[in-house]
């Protein structure tokens, strides 16, 4: 069997070396268009785990590589005037040039034919397999773009890759602001005398600084001045350095084995890229190489049986693609963190560092406590101090157990329970299993118990079995429950276009067959199969305000500690906020100013009538074309803050039934973090939270203030 590898980077060389080594009968050739020793970039970083896999794959090159390593076990973060060190993070760096040298020599040693300054086209080759290791702009892949379906997304930040003679003893992040904006550095040592020094900033900052029209020398001069204090006299060195946006590449498939044409396997950057802030593309490419070679060995594919080779390629893709996709997801989270760092400049150094270290979702509070218990003690102490604890306290509870001041009401901890109602209430009076669930939640020592939707009027119910707060019997039944103790908040809701449906235990949004009632909404737009609602008019506008006012007073009489006004999930107020469901042309429609007018009126009324803290559930993104995005939510929350809003619950989707769900908790977290840190209003987040460790991670990283724990009594 004859294999041709196009591209002599670390991934292509390593794959060729491993294939040839395990099956000496193979004929393997590497075509590299550049001369030997012509390389871009400075150093490459590997984690402990990657090194272990190198050792197992080819011991000899592993030893050569580790002989040239720089190893460190800490991450330093320079932020404002502080330096925080996070220990227990073992990484190693090596010069990219050295790595290529080692791999090229080892290839030659095992009998791979490495040809530099040779440019080839895959379709002209008569080999049995072509490994396309020719980088993100792979010509091999592009020639079959209709099969591989590459998609590239450009990052929003700009970065440039320098080297420096500054000796570092750790992976170092530097955050530094000047009049042009905020700059950050990712720096790490790699050969004892040199370190990689990547400077990154937002597009806006980049333009403010004039770097978009700066020459290479001018860019260096600018960065040297900016980071003079950190460089301590060391120079920045360029290697054809340019300011670029990070391109994230995804491909639909990595292998193509059509009859009559040469089979192609993508490897490394030609198949995928992931933001440099959580690991190098070199690491991914070399891991791809290990997987490909292993599949060949397992399937005995080197013998020349085309079927065995095809199966081996499928194994390679099935093993690696899901792993790389998860890595890309984490990299995306890390990338969007670095694109938003200006938002975190208000955070205390400990919280800032904790957020930075947990940015990709791969490290949580529990992992960090193991790696560096002292750092976590500081994080706990600072977090508790921010909520009235002493900054000098010898011990502090983890964030989830720190008390929270909800608009003057003290919650003992940050854990919220919100039992879902099955619809067992009678005429709005909470009863049956819903009552038992609520009682049991109130006895579970959570900081706060939030009810499911409670209707402000009989016609505001979602289903006939919903609880309400519009008559005295309803007030009384809640009061009996709440008098037993525990902090409780009520979600006040009018169902709008989602009203008059069968119980949710039998599915969502199924209209009642009988005993239905007319629906009211911003505009006559039906929610799924529900009846078409009537648009709110002057009379019903006054009635709804009165209903919310009465319900708010009743919430106080019943003994609720807080009220959350439901402005999301496609119900009445949520329907006003989105252009998908609000097509009004009067003062209650149009732009976001108009669309939020009525929800804000309601909020003001509730706030005036309820003695305690009032918050709102908001939809931070409709997740639907033509719907609201986070900017609309920020505009709403800014107004709510002016009205003294104590808390916002962050939700997304459900404005119409046709939204695209995102079940990975990251999507909601990133919205919560943005709303919270830009508005200053505390945020409540729920959904997929199943552990207290997760709550500690979210709170410690300033992504939320209260969390709904998934709870099964």
């Amino acid at each position: 069997m004859r294999i041709a590898t196009i591209g002599g980077g670390p991934g292509g060389l390593y794959a060729s070396l491993l294939l040839k080594r395990s099956s000496p009968e193979l004929e393997v050739v590497v075509f590299e268009r550049n001369p030997r020793g012509a390389t871009y970039g400075w150093g490459v970083v590997f984690s402990d785990r990657t090194l272990t896999s190198f050792r197992e794959a080819d011991y000899k090159s592993y030893v050569d590589i580790t002989d040239h390593f720089v190893i460190w076990d800490a991450i330093d973060i320079r932020y404002k005037d502080s330096l925080v060190r996070a220990g227990g993070q073992v990484f190693s760096g090596i010069s990219r040039r050295k790595l290529l040298d080692i791999l090229t020599n080892r290839c030659t040693e095992v009998g791979v034919d490495v040809r530099f300054e040779t440019e080839v086209v895959a379709e002209n080759l008569d080999h049995d397999l072509v490994i396309a290791a020719d980088g993100i702009y792979s010509a091999t892949r592009e020639a079959r773009a209709e099969v591989f379906k590459p998609r590239v997304r450009e990052g929003r930040a700009r970065y440039i890759w320098f080297g420096t003679t500054l000796p570092l003893d750790s992976f170092t992040f530097i955050f530094h602001a000047n009049d042009d904006g905020l700059f950050q550095v990712h720096a790490y040592p790699f050969d004892g005398t040199t370190s990689t020094f990547i400077v990154e900033c937002s597009e806006e900052t980049w333009r403010n600084a004039g770097l978009h029209e700066a020459s290479e020398a001018e860019s260096i001069a600018y960065c040297e001045t900016l980071f003079a204090g950190d460089l301590r006299g060391s120079a920045l060195m360029s290697n054809q350095s340019k300011w670029i946006s990070f391109p994230t590449l995804k491909t639909k498939t990595w292998i193509d084995t059509p009859p009559g044409l040469v089979p192609i396997a993508l490897l490394g950057d030609s198949a995928h890229t992931a933001h440099f802030s959580i690991g190098s593309g070199t690491k991914l490419a070399m891991e791809d190489a290990i997987s490909l070679a292993k599949a060949f060995e397992e399937r005995d594919a080197a013998g020349g049986d085309p079927e065995a080779a095809r199966t081996a390629l499928a194994d390679y893709q099935m093993e690696r693609k899901p792993i790389v996709e998860r890595f890309q997801e984490a990299a995306q989270q890390s990338q969007s963190y670095f694109e938003s760092t200006s938002r975190y400049q208000e955070l205390e150094p400990e919280q800032f560092v904790f957020h930075l270290l947990t940015r990709s979702g791969r490290i949580d509070y529990g992992n960090l406590r193991q790696r560096d218990p002292f750092l976590i003690q500081d994080v706990d102490r600072k977090f508790a101090a921010g909520s009235g604890g002493s900054a000098r306290a010898v011990v502090a509870p983890p964030p989830a157990l720190v008390a929270f001041d909800l608009g003057g009401v003290r919650l003992d901890n940050r854990v919220v329970l919100s039992p879902v109602a099955a619809g067992s209430s009678l005429d709005g009076v909470i009863a049956g299993s819903d009552r038992e669930m609520l009682a049991s939640a109130l006895g579970a020592s959570a900081g706060l118990v939030l009810t499911d939707e409670v209707a402000v009027s009989a016609r505001g119910r979602i289903s006939p079995g919903d609880a309400g707060l519009y008559d005295d019997a309803q007030v009384e039944s809640f009061k009996v429950l709440l008098d037993r103790g525990g902090r409780a908040g009520v979600r006040l809701n009018h169902a709008g276009a989602r009203g008059a449906t069968k119980p949710r235990s039998t599915g969502l949004d199924r209209p009642l067959d009988s005993d239905s009632w007319p629906l009211l909404a911003a505009s006559p737009i039906a929610y799924g199969r529900n009846a078409t609602p009537v648009a709110l008019d002057d009379r019903t506008r006054a009635e709804i305000l009165e209903d919310f006012a009465t319900a708010a007073r009743n919430a106080g009489r019943a003994g609720f500690d807080a009220v959350l006004v439901e402005m999301a999930r496609g119900y009445l107020l949520g329907g006003f906020l989105s252009p998908l469901t609000n097509s009004r042309t009067d003062e209650l429609g149009g732009d976001i100013e108009g669309r939020m007018r009525f929800p804000l009126e309601v909020f003001a009324v509730v706030r005036a009538e309820f003695g305690g803290p009032v918050g709102a559930s908001i939809c931070a993104d409709d997740w639907q074309r033509g719907g609201t995005r986070v900017n609309d939510a920020l505009a709403l929350v800014a107004e709510l803050r002016e009205q003294g809003c104590a808390l916002v619950e962050i939700t997304a989707g459900f404005t119409t039934p046709r939204f695209t769900p995102h079940l990975d908790s990251y999507y909601l977290t990133v919205l919560s973090e943005q709303v919270r840190n830009e508005s200053g209003v505390p945020a409540l987040i729920g959904g997929a939270i199943t552990t207290v460790d997760r709550i500690n991670t979210l709170l410690g990283g300033a992504r939320a203030d209260l969390c709904i724990l998934r709870w099964d009594p």
């Binding site: 099935m318 235990s505 949004d509 799924g528 695209t660 995102h662």
Partner: protein, 274 residues
């Protein structure tokens, strides 16, 4: 966790009467359910009519489709078929639906592949309404791995049916299905169903099972080999697999046969009772 057994209704060359013998035997064995698959091919037995016959032959065991390709069936007739099976079986039917993974199933009926998700949404809503007149409608399950499928299960169904794989992959899907359920405001928890293929016996029997798997999954091209490796072929691997699924929170696991011989039923029954 309940464990059910599949009927080999899609194994080519299977005599329809063997399927009924199989069902009678399962009725007297420890299995909680009998499952069928749906494949638009001439040598595959049609699942709904088969379940009607099985319903008449049995009195205890639950009946489940794992899964029926909903958008290929005309809903009004489909509702009545299911209602009839539900009537004959006295409420033992669970209906699993999905859009299916094979474009050629759609081609075989001249149906469009595009818009299948939306058609399934409509069908699920219609099924719900259609079953309401029954004293006890069949439970509905939705299959599929995307977030859209999982939200579809949360919106319309009683639970989620996973397509197969190691316990870890089930666990990940089950977590997301539960998240969708909670986000949708559904009370309680989704019913979580899963499936896997088995073939027990001597090497020749196992090889026949593998060859069925390769053929059944041939539409995945070179990936069929890897999927075939997931075939459970020893009592030990079955015991471990069942335990892994139970620990991952599965409510009901159906083990589907890759070989259409009654002995397969007995071998699995022995494994499950030990």
């Amino acid at each position: 966790m309940h464990v059910g057994i599949g009927l080999p209704n899609s194994v080519p060359g299977t005599d329809a009467r063997l399927l009924l013998d199989w069902a009678r035997r399962a009725e007297g064995s420890p299995f909680a359910s009998l499952g069928v698959v749906d494949r638009m091919r001439h040598d595959s037995h049609e699942p709904m009519s088969l379940l009607a016959a099985v319903a008449a032959t049995t009195t205890r065991i639950d009946l489940v489709t794992m899964v029926v390709i909903g958008p290929l069936r005309r809903t009004p007739i489909f509702v009545r078929e299911a209602a009839t099976i539900q009537g004959i079986s006295r409420g033992r039917l669970t209906l699993g639906l999905a859009v299916g993974a094979r474009p050629d199933d759609y081609d075989a009926l001249g149906e469009r592949h595009e818009g299948r998700g939306h058609r399934l949404d409509e069908q699920l809503a219609d099924l719900r309404d259609g079953f309401e007149e029954l004293e006890r409608g069949p439970h509905l399950l939705v299959g599929g791995g995307s977030d859209i499928s999982l939200m579809r299960a949360a919106r319309y169904a009683d639970g989620y049916v996973h397509g197969g794989g190691p316990p870890r992959s089930f666990q990940r899907a089950a977590d997301r299905a539960t998240t969708a359920w909670i986000e949708a405001g559904r009370p309680g928890k989704p019913k979580l169903w899963a499936q896997a293929y088995f073939a027990l016996g001597d090497d020749a029997t196992i090889e026949r099972g593998r060859s069925y798997m390769r053929d059944y999954y041939a539409f995945t091209g070179p990936f069929a080999a890897k999927i075939t490796e997931g075939l459970l072929t020893t009592p030990q691997s079955i015991a471990q697999f069942v335990r892994g699924y139970a620990e991952a929170g599965c409510d009901h696991l159906v083990l589907l046969p890759a070989v259409a011989e009654l002995e397969q039923h007995d071998r699995l029954a022995t494994v499950m009772s030990s």
